[in-house]
C-alpha cells in the first residue's frame, strides 16, 4: 500500500476543508476504509490523504452515539452516514419499522465486515467485477479499451442494462443496502462545494452509458452526512447465494408492501445483483396488486414478470429464473408467510 497522510476530521468543516487542502493531490474521504484499503492493496488507487469522516455525523444533534443511531420522527426515519451495517442490522427502529433495511444490512458480508463497514461506504463501494478488481486487467472502467467480461467469465455480471443496449460495462451494482433503501424512498443528504443537497437514492447511481469510470452522481468533495427514509413496516429481503455462509448474492430482492385486508394494496420491488444500478421492477409491483401473499400460484405468476426484458450474457442466464424466486420469497418474508424448507432458519 502507498503511504499517505491520515486526517481525523471531527466535524463537517474539517472534513470539507481537508479535502480541499492544496497540499494533497488525491485526498479521499474514508468511512470504515474496507473498500479503500482493498483498492490500495491491489494498487488500483493511490490517494495521498485519507480523511476519516466517521466522527462526522451531519448537522444538529444526531451524534449517533446512543444504543440506536437510528431516529424516527413521525413517518420519517433518519440515520447518520457513518452508521455501521452491524448497527443497522441491530437497530430496534429499523427492525420494527423498516425490516427490509435491517435484514439486508445483516445479510451483507461477514460479522467482522459489518462491524466496520459504514452505510455511505457501502453505497459508494466500487463494483466487484473480477476484471476491475485485478490490476492486471486494464478494462473500460479503469480507462482501458476493452470490457473483458464480454468474452470472458461473466456468470456474475448484469442481465439488465440501463441504456438502450447492454454495456459498455456489464457490472452489477455491489451495494446490498441500496435496493433496500430504494423501496423505503430514501434520500441521501450531502454537503459539499455549494449547498446542502438532498438526492433521492434512485438518482445517486448512474449506468455505464452515462460514464463508465464511475457509478454514482456525487461531485468530488461531496460528503454524505445522513440518510432519511420512510417507514416500511411490511417489508422484506431475500438473497440467493452459492454458499449458506457469507457470500455475495447471485440475485436478491427487496420488497415493501401495503396490505389492503388479505391482499396486497401497493408494492415496491427493487432487485440487486442484476444490473449496473439497483433495479426497480415496476411491472412486478403492479402485478402484485390484489394478490393474496398466501396464494402461492398467484404470487408465482406475478413474480414471473421479474425477468422480462432481461438480456443475459453467455454464463448468467440462470439469474433470470432465480430473480423471480427471490422476488417471490422477499414478498413472503415481508408478509410473514413461511417459505417451505426454510423453517427455523
Amino acid at each position: 500500500m502507498n503511504s499517505f497522510t491520515y486526517v481525523r476530521a471531527r466535524n463537517q468543516a474539517e472534513a470539507l476543508s481537508s479535502l480541499k487542502d492544496a497540499k494533497f493531490s488525491l485526498p479521499v474521504f474514508k468511512g470504515g476504509g474496507l473498500d479503500l484499503v482493498d483498492h490500495m492493496k491491489e494498487g488500483l488507487i493511490a490517494p495521498d490523504a485519507l480523511i476519516d469522516v466517521r466522527g462526522v455525523r451531519g448537522e444538529g444533534d444526531l451524534a449517533g452515539n446512543g444504543p440506536d443511531a437510528v431516529e424516527m420522527k413521525g413517518e420519517v426515519i433518519r440515520f447518520p452516514a457513518a452508521m455501521t451495517l452491524a448497527q443497522a442490522a441491530n437497530s430496534a427502529v429499523l427492525r420494527k419499522f423498516a425490516p427490509v433495511v435491517a435484514m439486508t444490512a445483516g445479510s451483507a458480508a461477514t460479522p467482522a465486515v459489518r462491524n466496520v463497514a459504514t452505510v455511505a461506504g457501502n453505497l459508494l463501494q466500487r463494483p466487484r467485477c473480477w476484471y476491475y478488481r485485478n490490476s492486471q486487467f486494464n478494462c473500460l472502467k479503469k480507462g482501458g479499451s476493452t470490457c473483458f467480461a464480454v468474452e470472458g467469465e461473466n456468470a456474475y455480471h448484469a442481465i439488465f442494462s440501463t441504456g438502450s443496449s447492454p454495456g459498455p460495462c456489464h457490472i452489477v451494482h455491489p451495494s446490498n443496502l441500496a435496493p433496500a433503501l430504494m423501496v423505503c424512498d430514501a434520500v441521501v443528504h450531502t454537503v459539499g462545494n455549494a449547498d446542502r443537497k438532498e438526492i433521492p437514492i434512485g438518482k445517486l447511481f448512474h449506468g455505464p452509458e452515462k460514464g463508465v469510470t464511475s457509478e454514482h452522481t456525487l461531485e468530488a468533495g461531496e460528503l454524505i452526512t445522513h440518510i432519511t427514509m420512510k417507514a416500511r413496516p411490511v417489508s422484506g429481503f431475500y438473497a440467493i447465494k452459492e454458499k449458506q455462509s457469507f457470500d455475495w448474492p447471485l440475485v436478491f430482492a427487496c420488497v415493501a408492501i401495503e396490505m389492503a385486508g388479505e391482499r396486497i394494496g401497493k408494492a415496491e420491488v427493487v432487485a440487486g445483483a442484476v444490473a449496473p444500478v439497483p433495479w426497480a421492477l415496476p411491472a412486478v409491483a403492479a402485478a402484485l396488486k390484489g394478490v393474496d401473499p398466501k396464494d402461492e400460484r398467484a404470487l408465482t405468476e406475478a413474480c414471473a414478470l421479474a425477468g422480462k426484458g432481461a438480456k443475459p450474457m453467455r454464463d448468467n442466464g440462470y439469474k433470470v429464473g432465480l430473480l423471480s424466486v427471490a422476488v417471490k420469497r422477499a414478498v413472503m418474508k415481508a408478509a410473514g408467510v413461511a417459505i417451505a424448507g426454510e423453517e427455523g432458519r
Binding site: T5, V7, A13, E59, V113, N115, R196, Q244
Partner: protein, 185 residues
C-alpha cells in the same frame, strides 16, 4: 447563520484549528493491546495486523487472505470483532485491542473457548484457530447461550481450510455450557 446549521453545531465548528493529521512518513501511535499501553512507530499505511505482529510481537492473529475474507486475522476492537488485515492501525487509536494472546487469564489459564477447542480437537493444522477463538469469544460476550444457527452465523466470516467445522461448533457449544451436536466427527 446558514439555514440548517444549529447554534450548537455552529459553535462546535467555529474557530477550530485544522483537523488532526498524521504522516506522511512514520508516526508515533499509542495503542492499548490486551490491556497494556503500547507506543509504536508506524507508517500511516500500516494495518493493525502488521502492527500487532511486527511491532507488538503478537503473532496469534494470522495473515491469510489479507482481504477481510477468511477471518484468520480476527481481533476485538472495543469488544467488536474485526479483520485486522483491513483496518488501519491508526483507526484503532484510542480503542482497546484484544488479540488471542489476551484471552489467557492472569493466572495463565486458557479462556473457556480455548479450553473447549483443545478438548474437542477443534483444529487440524491450527492456522485458522486464533481467528475462530476470537470470533467465538466475541459471540459469547454478547450471547452467552447461542443456538447452533447463531454460532454458524457468528463464525460465517471465518474459513477453516482443513474443514474442522463440526468440532469447532461443538467447542463453542461446550464453552457456552451446552450439549454438543451428536455427530462430533
Amino acid at each position: 447563520m446558514a439555514e440548517g446549521v444549529s447554534r450548537r453545531s455552529f459553535i462546535k465548528t467555529a474557530g477550530l484549528s485544522a483537523a488532526a493529521t498524521m504522516g506522511p512518513g512514520m508516526v508515533e501511535v499509542a495503542l492499548t493491546v490486551n490491556g497494556a499501553a503500547r507506543k509504536v512507530k508506524i507508517d500511516p499505511a500500516a494495518t493493525l495486523l502488521e502492527t500487532l505482529r511486527v511491532d507488538c510481537n503478537l503473532t496469534g492473529a494470522k495473515e491469510v487472505c489479507d482481504r477481510a475474507s477468511c477471518g484468520a486475522c480476527s481481533v476485538l476492537v472495543d469488544g467488536k470483532l474485526v479483520c485486522s488485515c483491513m483496518m488501519l492501525a491508526l483507526d484503532a487509536q484510542g480503542c482497546a485491542v484484544t488479540t488471542v494472546e489476551g484471552l489467557v487469564g492472569a493466572d495463565g489459564k486458557p479462556d473457556a473457548v480455548q479450553a473447549a477447542f483443545i478438548k474437542h480437537d477443534a483444529l487440524q493444522c491450527g492456522f485458522c484457530t486464533p481467528g475462530f477463538v476470537i470470533a467465538a469469544r466475541a459471540l459469547l460476550n454478547v450471547n452467552p447461550k447461542p443456538t447452533l444457527a447463531e454460532i454458524k452465523g457468528a463464525l460465517a466470516g471465518n474459513i477453516c481450510r482443513c474443514g474442522a467445522y463440526t468440532n469447532i461448533f461443538n467447542a463453542v457449544l461446550e464453552a457456552s455450557g451446552q450439549a454438543v451436536v451428536a455427530d462430533g466427527g
